[in-house]
């Protein structure tokens, strides 16, 4: 296990990975629209370079085989210089995790940029779309390379802003405007929690740096007799709340499906490479701050989200919404995997998911581009018209469903076996719940994904007109699809056992099983593999039974389970619940605030306005406002000054000279008087 020689040049290249897109963002914002092709080649080129650099450095990591691989560029930029406890400096933390993420994010973001060239062609705000997309990529790349919570949070917020801008790209559509606002506000709840968590860590440990924080945790535990002190538990849970917001976990998942209002490349970006992945990444980075109880909470939140979103996904007819809920569900898998201690498994699933979910989204974009609708009941039979799209989407569906040999199988299998190990080790029903939830959710995943494929591409065209006009998309759209499809097939082999599960053992907080635990693990692995193949097969078969062979009628089943179906189809009325409680409460607060505004703030503003008017009509003003006691004093002052102005600033130059002379005499008198 030789260590890589990581020199300044490598760090410079790494620093360039986020900075080049940032620079491209500025260039594109300022002058992009004046350039040829409205400057789209600037962000695309920047991302190409960033991706190439990221992959280059990743390859360098692969040349050594070291689970504990971690290099740092400390204090690359001193933002606030000073003594250690009041200092803020940014640097780069490069370990197996950030290496993989840099390469994966860079590549996927580049492909999405490329796809957008075709998809957004002719858009009114084409130039600024690319600028925002580019800034979005900067946010994620900067985030994965950050070595401290401060720049991490800054990048986190940059992504929040970009998601707002991009989801609201078609801001003339009221639904898009509402969606971007919703995304921004919902994730904001998590962001505030994250910020508080960071603040707690900083006040206690006086550093933002990840490595220093990780080193501090055992010390804190030792001081506290091995238990997590209350503040650390609080901090851990607050930071996880940040991840809940960003990764759209229950109960803050509501923004992600609405985010479909954005253009499809944006959806792909949010769902695959950025945003939601950031939350998972954060959970992995902050794993050490989570107490054992908190970890169970994490696992439960994740697994519940997985099954909860999967059920909703079954009942949706909008192709993008199905995918959206599928993302929420898959994110639940990852979070749950991390929560039960399978950090590497969760991250593994994040990377493979990034590949096939990006492919699915871009594929759906390609379909929407062709038929101009998002409703699956109006599609059907498209595989003959769009063979490439069909092929890549099918491959990705196989991957997400967990069919052996495809990428998703390996990663999902790893998560499932982690939950099983977890259940076996503790043996309580609480610890077993994640496993039960996730196995069920895995089956559902296979079902609703094949439902999507069958409804969209198979059977007879249900809308002849739309079918007639459908055609395969241009190369800028199909090439990224193909590349992503390739990774959907091979991602599991490339990374899989070799990369994540071995090298991931070096991640902070990852426990390497030994002795009996190792036996458990082996046993669990076998069960998990056959179990996941079983549920996936069952889901697929069921989907074919419903939608291909028509053995059962979906409509009849929906009828039979009427109330339940409605409940699920309407997403369990979570939105409505929030509307009735949170939103109404906020409205109430707003009313209070409005009252405050109208009576107090406006009062103050009016007061100042009054000051201006008063000078013009001193006597009338005085009559009108004299009753208002508080205003009186200021009014009097202003009136005085109005009078003063009239007395002094007469417009006659001789008066000025006279007052100047008087002033000189006054000043001299003051000095003499002071003697």
């Amino acid at each position: 296990m030789a260590d890589i020689v990581f020199d300044g040049g490598d760090f410079a290249r790494l620093a360039a990975v986020p900075l080049i897109p940032l620079g491209a963002f500025f260039v594109q914002t300022l002058v992009g629209r004046f350039g040829p092709r409205k400057g789209d080649w600037i962000p695309v080129g920047a991302l190409a370079i960033a991706a190439a650099l990221g992959i280059f450095e990743f390859a360098k990591c692969l040349t050594v085989w070291n689970p504990g691989f971690r290099v740092e560029w400390k204090e690359a930029f001193d933002w606030i210089p000073g003594p250690a406890e009041s200092r803020a400096s940014f640097g780069i933390l490069y370990d197996n995790l950030s290496a993989t993420m840099t390469a994966a994010v860079g590549l996927i973001a580049f492909l999405i940029h490329l796809f957008s060239v075709g998809y957004m062609h002719g858009d009114r705000r084409y130039a600024s779309f690319f600028a925002h997309l580019c800034l979005f990529s900067f946010g994620m790349l900067g985030l994965v390379l950050s070595d401290n919570f401060l720049s991490f949070f800054a990048c986190w917020e940059v992504m929040g802003l970009c998601s707002y801008l991009l989801i609201g790209h078609f801001s003339e559509k009221p639904s898009a405007a509402a969606a971007c606002k919703k995304a921004f506000l919902t994730t904001r709840i998590g962001d505030v929690c994250l910020f508080l968590g960071i603040a707690i860590l900083w006040t206690r440990l006086h550093t933002f740096r990840f490595t220093e924080l990780w080193d501090a945790v055992p010390r804190v535990l030792a001081e506290n007799g091995g238990a997590y002190p209350g503040w650390l538990v609080t901090a851990g849970l607050l930071i996880f709340a940040g991840a809940v917001g960003k990764s759209a976990q229950f109960p803050l998942h509501v923004w992600l499906p609405d985010a479909m209002e954005g253009p499809t490349p944006v959806s792909a970006m949010i769902h695959a490479a950025t945003m939601v992945a950031a939350g998972v990444f954060l959970t992995a980075r902050a794993f050490l701050f989570l107490s054992p109880e908190a970890r169970i909470a994490v696992a439960l939140v994740g697994s519940f989200t997985a099954i909860f979103a999967a059920t909703i996904g079954i009942c949706q007819t909008d192709i993008k919404r199905v995918l959206a809920y599928s993302t929420v569900s898959q994110l639940g898998f990852m979070i749950a995997g991390i929560g039960v201690g399978g950090i590497a498994a969760g991250l593994f699933h994040m990377v493979t998911h990034a590949a096939f979910k990006a492919c699915l989204f871009l594929g759906s974009g390609s379909v929407i581009h062709a038929v101009h609708t998002q409703e699956m009941p109006q599609m059907g039979g498209l595989r003959r018209r769009m063979p490439i799209t069909y092929g890549t989407m099918l491959v990705s569906t196989l991957a997400i469903a967990g069919v052996p040999l495809f990428a998703g199988f390996y990663s999902k299998d790893a998560i499932l076996s982690s939950t099983l190990v977890h259940a076996m080790e503790h043996g309580s029903i609480l610890h077993a719940l994640p496993a039960i939830f996730l196995f069920t959710a895995a089956g559902m995943t296979a079902f609703y994904m094949f439902r999507l494929i069958l409804l969209t591409f198979h059977g007879e065209p249900r809308d002849a007109h739309k079918f007639e006009h459908a055609h395969e998309s241009p190369w800028v759209m199909t090439v990224p699809l193909t590349i992503l499809g390739f990774f959907a097939v091979t991602g599991g082999w490339i990374f899989g056992e070799n990369w994540f599960l071995e090298l991931g053992k070096g991640l902070p907080g990852m426990v390497v099983a030994e002795g009996e635990a190792a036996h458990h693990e082996h046993e669990a692995h076998g069960i998990a593999m056959w179990g996941s193949i079983g549920v996936a097969g069952a889901g697929i078969l069921l989907a074919f039974a419903f939608y291909q062979w028509r053995k059962f009628s979906a409509a009849a089943w929906a009828e039979r389970w009427g109330p339940v179906h409605r409940w699920v189809k309407n997403k369990y009325y979570v939105d409505e619940f929030y509307l009735a409680t949170v939103v109404r409460f906020v409205m109430f607060l707003t009313a209070v605030q409005r009252w405050f505004d109208v009576w107090i703030v406006d009062g103050l503003v009016n007061l100042v306005g009054g000051i201006g008017r008063a000078a013009a009509a001193v006597s009338g003003w005085f009559d009108r406002w004299v009753v208002d006691g508080a205003v009186n004093l200021v009014g009097w002052l202003t009136q005085l000054w109005g009078g003063v102005a009239r007395l002094f600033q007469t417009g006659r130059v001789q008066t000025y000279v006279a007052w100047g002379v008087a002033g000189a005499v006054g000043a001299a008198s003051v000095v003499l008087w002071m003697a």
């Binding site: 102005a645 009239r646 600033q649 007469t650 417009g651 006659r652 130059v653 001789q654 000279v657 006279a658 002379v661």
Partner: protein, 105 residues
């Protein structure tokens, strides 16, 4: 005559000059007021140079030179001032200093 007498005259000139600037109702007299003030200062310089400094010394020369230069300065100022007053006269049609009062408060 003693130094005090010169200083008294100079101070009187200074006060008169200020008074002219403040009170006269003709811009040309206001300009003359400026000249009076400048000359009051000149008188001071020369008187100090003559009385308070040893004759022929450097300090004496300084005062004299200062006065000479201020005279030149007064000329330049008068030239500019007359031009500006003339310009104002052509636009406002008056030489009364209080009449141009478009800009106030």
């Amino acid at each position: 005559m003693s130094l005090g007498a010169y200083l008294a005259v100079a101070t009187a000139l200074f006060v008169l000059g200020l008074a002219m600037m403040i009170a006269r109702r003709n811009l040309l007299y206001v300009l003359m007021g400026i000249e009076l003030i400048l000359n009051a200062a000149n008188l001071n310089f020369v008187a100090f140079a003559r009385y308070a400094a040893p004759a022929g010394g450097e300090a004496a020369l300084r005062g004299q030179v200062f006065a000479l230069i201020v005279i030149l300065l007064a000329v330049a100022e008068a030239a500019v001032a007359l031009a500006i007053v003339l310009h104002a006269y052509s636009l406002f049609d008056t030489v009364r200093p209080e009449e141009p009062d478009l800009l106030r408060e």
